[in-house]
């Protein structure tokens, strides 16, 4: 239920002075910049600027950090669209259609609709959060390790099923990714697959592996290309087209709504939410589209579906943080540190006693979405000029940037080495039709899948009947089979019915 007294107090916290908003603009710009540079993470930006928040009150600190989060969530889509480098795991599905659009010279349209769908989805997501923060937090509390493991396996199966005719290879790639994600010290306290290297004891660095498999391998494929966009007339950067495409996102209300719904609820699942939400939204949109075969070749609906979900997954992860005090990922973990620096503990008590601040944070994010529109429309045309850079200059620059970024993520040479090894693996996977996204999601979530299976095993006392007591797990497993077999079953049934009708 909405507490109107707290709502009034929250709004007055935000709007009695312009001062809190002054820190939002630099926050969004920092987020956009860090999101747009491959290798720099939103969580890194927030961690770097965390000490600055010591000089702010709690409200201002939250506004500043959520502004970085909002800017960074969208910023990650810019390299995904222009260079096929998803800045974060939540922008993976944006690259599926955004990058082919760029190759066709539709980079202005792709960036415009990505900005439009992101901003609209942030507004929808935080509006949902305003009404649903308590039910969402109750739902998250019901998720145990069995549900988490089921969601992870569902995510990988979904992405593997995207591989079209090569579903077997897609599933093989996803499962190998899962195994790679478990390299290093496991929960049993022994090291696996390290080949004696101390760098691998903590596992294979997932983000550098993602950068190698997606970006570097794609750049290898482009060595014989002169420009990212072959047609010189299509290389123009047009603010007019970006703005028109921004408005065009409104023409896909159901895609945005569906993506927002998926983003808020799946995004609330700690640790895996944002990585799976964009894929789930993309796949659902592809399935429901009248031309599913056009996805992966530059369909704007694919970009919108992914961006809507990854922008609202921010709202979902904020719900978990505010209502339960559980950070869903790196960015919300930094926010939790800001909570601690201001002697505030997130959780049910925080929601009950500081409802005005919770509402103020929600409304501040709605305001940030509007500011993101203005700042994005200024920032995007500058970055879109990348399509005018000849490939012989772009390829070594982006590869070097990926190497610097990978070093930044790991703090040692394991990062650059991972980029190199996985670039070669990614190139081989692409050449022989193994699903790169499935492998990457597997690497990202492998360790977490194993931990959750172990916790389920320990809680259940190795009894399968435990699953029968977990209706959400059963529901997810049913969804998994429906998503894998549903289409084929419907086809089989409809062909049987038509055969009987013909007879």
């Amino acid at each position: 239920m909405v507490d109107f007294e707290a709502l009034n107090s929250g709004l007055s916290l935000l709007f009695t002075s312009f001062t809190p908003w002054l820190i939002v603009i630099p926050g969004i710009l920092i987020g956009l910049t860090f999101g747009a540079i491959p290798g720099l993470q939103i969580s890194m930006a927030m961690a770097i600027f965390l000490p600055v928040t010591l000089y702010m009150n709690f409200m201002q600190a939250m506004l500043f950090l959520t502004a970085i989060f909002t800017g960074g969530s969208f910023g990650g889509s810019i390299p995904a669209i222009l260079m096929n480098i998803p800045g974060t795991s939540s922008a993976i599905a944006t690259a599926f259609d955004g990058y082919p659009m760029s190759r066709k010279g539709e980079h202005n349209i792709a960036l415009g609709i990505a900005l439009g769908s992101s901003c609209i989805a942030v507004i929808i997501g935080y509006s949902m959060l305003f009404f649903l923060i308590s039910p969402i937090s109750e739902l998250v509390l019901r998720l145990g390790p069995a549900e988490m493991a089921a969601v992870i396996i569902w995510g990988i199966t979904l992405i593997a099923s995207l591989s079209g005719a090569e579903v077997t290879k897609g599933v093989i790639a996803g499962l190998i990714g899962l195994l790679v994600g478990t390299v290093g010290f496991g929960e049993a306290g022994v090291a696996r697959g390290t080949m004696g290297s101390v760098y691998l004891l903590d596992g294979i660095p997932a983000i550098p592996a993602m950068m190698g498999m997606f970006a570097a391998s794609e750049l290898f494929k482009l060595v014989n290309t002169k420009y990212l966009v072959a047609d010189s007339s299509a290389r123009k950067v047009s603010v007019k087209v970006i703005f028109a495409s921004f408005k065009r996102a409104v023409r896909y209300p159901w895609v945005i709504l569906r993506g927002s719904f998926i983003g808020v609820f799946v995004g609330a699942v700690p640790g895996i939410g944002s990585s799976v939400a964009n894929l789930l939204s993309y796949i659902t949109t592809k399935r429901k589209h009248k031309e599913p075969e056009s996805f992966g070749k530059g369909n704007p609906a694919g970009v919108i579906a992914s961006e809507a979900a990854n922008s609202t997954s921010e709202a979902g992860s904020m719900a978990t943080l505010l209502a339960l005090g559980i950070p869903g990922g790196g960015a919300t973990a930094v926010m939790l540190a800001a909570f601690a620096m201001h002697n505030i503990t997130g959780g049910p008590q925080f929601i009950r006693e500081q409802t005005d601040i919770v509402y103020a944070i929600i409304f501040a994010n709605l305001g940030q979405a509007c500011l993101l529109i203005a700042l994005g429309l200024v920032f995007i045309p500058l970055l879109a000029n990348i399509v005018k850079v000849p490939m012989n200059y772009l390829i070594p620059s982006v590869l070097s940037l990926a190497v610097f970024g990978a070093f930044g993520l790991t703090g040692n040479m394991a990062g650059p080495a991972t980029v190199m090894v996985f670039a070669i693996i990614g190139w081989l996977f692409k050449r022989f039709d193994y699903s790169v996204p499935a492998a990457v999601i597997g690497i990202l979530l492998g360790g977490m899948a194993e931990s959750n299976l172990i916790y389920s095993y320990q809680i259940s006392g190795a009894q399968w009947s435990y699953l029968l007591e977990r209706p959400i797990t059963i529901g997810i497993i049913v969804l998994l089979f429906v998503s894998l077999m549903g289409g084929k079953l419907v086809n089989m049934l409809s062909s049987n019915v038509s055969a009987q009708a013909d007879a």
Binding site: I176, V223, N392, F404, F407, G408, V419, A423, L428, Y457
Partner: protein, 154 residues
């Protein structure tokens, strides 16, 4: 009776990659098993290995039986190998050349090998890009970066 179609180089390589992946998965399972055969260590690794094994067999049979399938048009490998080698050389030599000199050499050599013959551009762009990236990242990151000429931290 028609003779079965011969395997193309691409098909042979495809089978080779499949076999390599299977070997990798089996090696990883063996490594994990010898580290500890406790159920907590193999709870994910063993079932996934078994499923991959079954899927690899299915894929192998499918590739053998569909050898007359239409082949995709692919870029020649020989145009990509020099780039991969240059990139690998860049990453491997980074601890000795540092991010500043290593990046400068990588970008300049790449430009030269890919048709840029204006040496001012080759050296100038390599120098500017490497210096800017090295300075930016060494200032932003909380730990020192290996450098040959520039300072490791700012």
């Amino acid at each position: 009776m028609t003779k079965p179609a011969r395997f193309t180089i691409h098909q042979k390589s495809d089978l080779g990659v499949l076999l390599a992946l299977l070997c990798l998965v089996l090696w990883y399972f063996w490594d994990a098993y010898t580290a500890s055969s406790h159920v907590l260590n193999l709870i994910l690794i063993m079932p996934v290995t078994l499923i991959v094994l079954v899927l690899c067999v299915i894929e192998f049979i499918s590739q053998i039986s569909h050898r007359d399938r239409e082949q995709p048009e692919l870029d020649p490998v020989k145009s990509i190998v020099p780039v991969v080698s240059l990139f690998a050389g860049y990453v491997i030599t980074l601890p000795w050349l540092g991010f500043d000199v290593g990046t400068f050499l990588f970008i300049s050599l790449f430009l030269w090998f890919h048709g840029e013959r204006r040496w001012q551009w080759v050296l100038g762009y390599g120098l500017c890009a490497a210096t800017l990236m090295a300075l930016f990242f060494s200032a932003m990151l909380p730990y020192p970066m290996p450098m040959l000429l520039l300072a490791t931290d700012y």
